[in-house]
Amino acid sequence: MTLTKAGIRIEDLHLSFGETKVLEGIDMVIEPGEFFAFLGPSGSGKSTLLRAIAGFGPTPRGRILIGDRDIAALPPWKRNVGMVFQSYALWPHMSVRRNVAFGLEERRMPAREIGPRVEQALETVGLLHLADRMPAQLSGGQQQRVALARTIAIEPQVLLLDEPLSNLDAALRVQMRRELLALQRKLGLTTIFVTHDQEEANTTSDRMAVLDRGVIQQIGTPQQLYDHPENAFVAGFLGTANILKGAMQGADFVTEAGQRLPVAPAAAPAAAPAADVNRIVLRPQNIRIAASGGDIMGTVAHREFLGSQIRYLVDTPDGQIIVDTLHSSGPPPYDEGAAVSLSIDSQSAPLLAD
């Protein structure tokens, strides 16, 4: 197998299940060796798009190129794309080891090479000790890891992962994510990753595409998307966001309740004139909460313990604003009902136009 890095180009892809349109005009270019993520809410078409690349599901309209080759007409097994299924799809009649060896055997790899490769793949997902179990004897997360091992074992040219870590705990997820990244870098695999977890997308992917209802909302690096969302959907989907309505007045953004927030000129979307700007995105961690002395007064409506952070929902004249503060040991400083004052770091807050 020649392991030339191959990019993926998708042009004007449309796909529907009978009457239901699921993908509508997808265009994207994924660079060779890139680690790319599809992010989007449940039912937005992520799995469908991924499956179309792998060659499953209804035949789409449009083009899919891997390298220079239009693969739209190829059967799945000629595409050399490895895929981890959202439903694992382990073969119940084969042991873990035989599940993982399958792809290698199909590639006519000599038996003596298969053994070590399988063990190595199982090692990577931390399941070597369960190699001789049947799938039905594994926990959900273990099954998911076998599905992952099965696919990475074949070191495909393109790796497609459909929520491969959704059933793993944080520590294991972080570890697996690192392993995956290392493997990807080592082999130069072009990888697409479907996830609903933005932290996962942020930490692993070079770039990502945000989908909603079968349409791409924005493509870019995680930080680009976080810092410069092009619309409210992206802003809200990538991390918690307070989106306040208002309008520009000179260099300031004035909220509906009259609060004046100074903003940087770069914050406005490139395409939209200042006059169209009508919303500002405030990230919870960029708002400071204090007993008094801030810009906006409010009362704590609700408090949540998130682990490393404490989240306050504060009722203000501009609506409920979410504020995150770092958690140090001990009881959090403000109780529900406490009067607080918020100071807002709006200098770099993104602005949105419709």
């Binding site: 499956r51 895929m83 382990l90 009649h93 399958f102 199909e106 039905a136 004897q137 099954q143 599905a147």
Partner: protein, 575 residues
């Protein structure tokens, strides 16, 4: 993988065909050559004016104008429908208890459940009438002690009783295979929501096993509709299949109505199948998808255990009674107008022992090879029909299933017409008298059984398991071989067992085709004995031999299914 050139768009003599298309075409050719054409060669006279030989539909008009035929049609339909109902009542408890509970002897019960299918011709009828007939053991005893008789075997109800006892294994086998394929969590979710027992079975388990049940029920329906042996042996003439048979086989008779009826039987069978397809359409019953395994089995409480055994023994006693009769016949001396034979003897077995090893081997070879061909074709057709988009793929299924409606004689005569005079190479002689043609005939006649089982099994395998293999680079053929077929094992074995068991006692087509007595199978031997009064005992003994051989075969297959299932399931689920 290196030479992945793009397909050239230039001129090609042969269009590029996928493996499935090639297989589909080969199967179509096979069915054409060994089913459609031979049968067409015989029944085309249905479309001819009997005297002038020109094409006409007059015969069909005559058919519908004839009261007797309309009545026969209604009778056949009634008998088939009622047989399905009765067969279901027999098969359901057996399937349910043996697949859902930890039950000692499950494999044995499942194997016993198939025995009714192995009903050797003629002897079975004698045994049945000795037990259930108007002056059979039961009625003699009833009459003696209570002064009344039960007309078990009289009229259409007799046909229904005998047919459902004979064919319920189709439902039992297919339903059991289906039940074993249901993911454990389906049923756990239902229990968790407060459902259990019969209710849960009715609402969750049974619908999920629907592909298997329907496969079995369709087989029973079509088979009973098309069956001529049982009504004839019970001397019921006013049903369609016996009418066709009587009109086709009379010596020197040249009545086109027999062929008209045959044609209508075939058409109606295809129609019933199509109706069952319509019923199943759009229903995705695949539940095996996450790598979870098999239906869980529950331990029975002592009281339940007694109840279950009671039900099972009652059913087994009923469905195995013909074979009990057969056994008495084989070991009995004279049995006439008395509840039991006058005496017992081993002599009949002695008689057959010297002569029957040839029959046994032939039967094993013929029925075994035919069943192997059937499961291969069945799997291939099932895959093509369910998983590919080949145009006209459903017709493979219709064609194969139409074989149910073709009387064995018609097929036999068709083969003689098609293949006689074709000289085979390697000194194998005439094609029509070559023993291989018997295998082909058996395979074609039993293909519907295996096919239905394979279809049901494939319907239950989640597509994503195949997709996973393909995404790992396994080609279609490799996916089929390594993923699809192993996951279908239960269904395939079910198909094998039914095909094998029924082929082992088939007579109507083989009696036409057996060229030498050294090529003859068991059923033929039984036929020979049963032509004379002195042969009744040895005939029954040979019948017992057939039953034992086939039962052993199916017991072994059962064990394999069970072992396979246990291997996949959770280890701790078993005691």
């Amino acid at each position: 993988m290196a030479d992945t050139t793009t397909p050239s768009r230039g001129f090609t003599l042969f269009p590029r065909l996928s493996g499935a298309a090639v297989a589909g075409i080969l199967i179509a050719i096979f069915l054409m050559a060994f089913l459609v054409l031979p049968v067409a060669q015989v029944i085309y006279v249905a479309f001819l004016d009997a005297r002038t030989g020109v094409f006409t539909l007059q015969n069909f008009q005559d058919f519908f104008n004839t009261t007797l035929f309309r009545e026969s049609f209604a009778n056949s339909f009634y008998v088939s429908a009622m047989s399905v109902v009765l067969a279901t009542l027999i098969a359901l408890p057996l399937a349910y208890i043996t697949t859902r509970f930890n039950f000692a002897g499950t494999a044995a019960i499942q194997a016993l459940g198939i025995i009714p299918l192995i009903m050797p011709p003629f002897v079975g009828a004698v045994a049945m009438s000795l037990l259930f007939g108007r002056n059979g053991s039961i009625n003699l005893l009833l009459n003696q002690h209570f002064g009344f008789r039960i007309p078990f075997m009289e009229g259409l109800n007799g046909v229904i009783l005998v047919q459902s006892i004979h064919y319920f294994p189709f439902i039992l086998i297919n339903l059991s295979a289906s039940l074993r394929n249901i993911d454990r969590s389906m049923e756990e979710a239902a229990q968790n929501l407060g459902s259990h027992g019969i209710r849960m079975f009715r609402r969750i388990v049974f619908p999920l096993a629907m592909p298997g049940y329907l496969a079995g029920a369709a087989l029973v329906f079509i088979k009973v509709f098309d069956d001529l042996g049982t009504p004839l042996l019970l001397n019921v003439n006013n049903m369609l299949a016996p009418q066709a048979y009587l009109r086709i086989t009379g010596v020197g008779i040249n009545d086109p109505m027999g062929y008209v009826i045959s044609f209508i039987l075939v058409a109606f069978s295809v129609f019933s199948l199509w109706a069952s397809f319509l019923f199943m359409r759009g229903k995705d019953y695949a539940t095996v998808q996450k790598g979870g395994g098999g239906l869980s089995r529950r331990d029975l409480k002592p009281r339940e255990k007694w109840l279950a055994w009671g039900v099972i023994l009652l059913i087994l006693a009923m469905v195995l009674s013909p074979h009990i009769g057969l056994l008495l016949l084989a070991f009995g001396t004279i049995w006439s107008f008395s509840p039991l034979p006058d005496g017992f003897t081993l002599q009949h077995f002695g008689t057959i022992f010297t002569q029957s090893s040839q029959y046994v081997w032939n039967t094993l070879i013929y029925a075994g090879s035919a069943a192997v061909i059937d499961v291969i074709l069945g799997t291939a057709i099932a895959y093509i029909v369910i998983r590919t988009g080949l145009p006209g793929r459903k017709w493979l299924d219709y064609m194969a299933t139409a074989a149910l409606a073709v009387p064995g004689v018609v097929l036999g005569i068709g083969y003689l017409r098609m293949f006689h005079g074709i000289q085979l190479p390697f000194g194998l002689g005439q094609m029509s008298s070559f023993w291989g043609i018997i295998i082909v005939a058996l395979a074609v006649r039993r293909l519907p059984y295996a096919l239905r089982a394979c279809m049901a099994a494939l319907q239950q395998v989640s597509l994503s398991l195949e997709e996973a293999a393909e995404s790992l680079g396994a080609s279609r053929s490799s996916t089929i071989r390594r993923i699809v077929v192993p996951l279908m094992t239960g269904g395939i074995l079910a198909g094998f067992v039914t095909s094998f068991a029924t082929a082992a006692v088939e007579l109507s087509a083989t009696i036409m085709l057996v060229g030498r007595s050294s090529d003859a199978p068991l059923a033929y031997g039984i036929y020979l004995y049963m032509q004379s009064p002195a042969g009744r005992g040895p005939g029954a003994a040979l019948g017992i031999l057939a039953v034992v051989i086939v039962a052993l075969g199916s017991y072994l297959s059962q064990r394999i299914i069970e072992r396979e299932r246990a291997r996949q399931a959770m280890t701790a689920d078993r005691p």
